[in-house]
Symmetry: C2
Subunit: 121 residues, 2 copies
């Protein structure tokens, strides 16, 4: 991951509504949630949320797909993983007192990773 991508992702998360949106979508799991439901949940105007959603998507932290009239947003786990890897590699480089043994783990392709296909939400 390049620095500019990392900055984009960090900036995307550095705002309350967006950080809450991302958390909500991580909780929601791979199935995601429609934009309107997110807006309702977070008590944000649809137009305003739409602006934030597009920033998160551009930063590679969300994905979207249309499902009939709704647009479903879901956390992009791989994107978040890339950010975590960047932070551990580039910022903790050689300093286990910060991240412990995170860099090695961040490079492994996710362990067994059980299928989370709408089983726990």
């Amino acid at each position: 991951m390049e620095m500019s991508n990392a900055i984009e992702a960090l900036a995307a998360l550095a705002q309350e509504t967006r950080l809450e949106t991302f958390r909500l979508l991580v909780e929601a799991g791979p199935n995601g949630m429609p934009a309107g439901e997110i807006a309702r949940e977070l008590d944000v105007q649809p137009a305003t949320l739409s602006f934030h959603l597009s920033q998160l998507e551009r930063a590679g932290l969300l994905r979207s797909r249309r499902q009939s009239r709704q647009i479903i947003y879901a956390a992009d786990y791989e994107g978040m993983r890339r950010l975590m890897t960047f932070l551990t590699e580039k910022c903790c480089h050689g300093h286990p007192e910060i991240c412990g043994d995170l860099p090695r783990l961040a490079n492994t392709r996710c362990p067994p990773a059980p299928e989370t296909q709408g089983s726990d939400d």
Copy 2:
């Protein structure tokens, strides 16, 4: 760590000069570097850098101490660790496909780092 602190830290890192400053100071190690040297290294005006340094410090990512005429800045490992922990706990919660086993490690104080027997990269 509270959300507002996390946002402050994320915002602090979401800017090129600041991200580079932080990286530089992590590389520099616990002894840190004087502000002027950082400015020279990154080719930034002292006044501008000072602005960024104060933001990083307010975010809990740097510490400073005066040493005669210079002010030495050093990465605050604990602060970065808190941010990493926040991200792994609050944003990857229950989703190992993002952070793998990071949350547990982020809470441990810096494990013996199991010897990387694989060295598969």
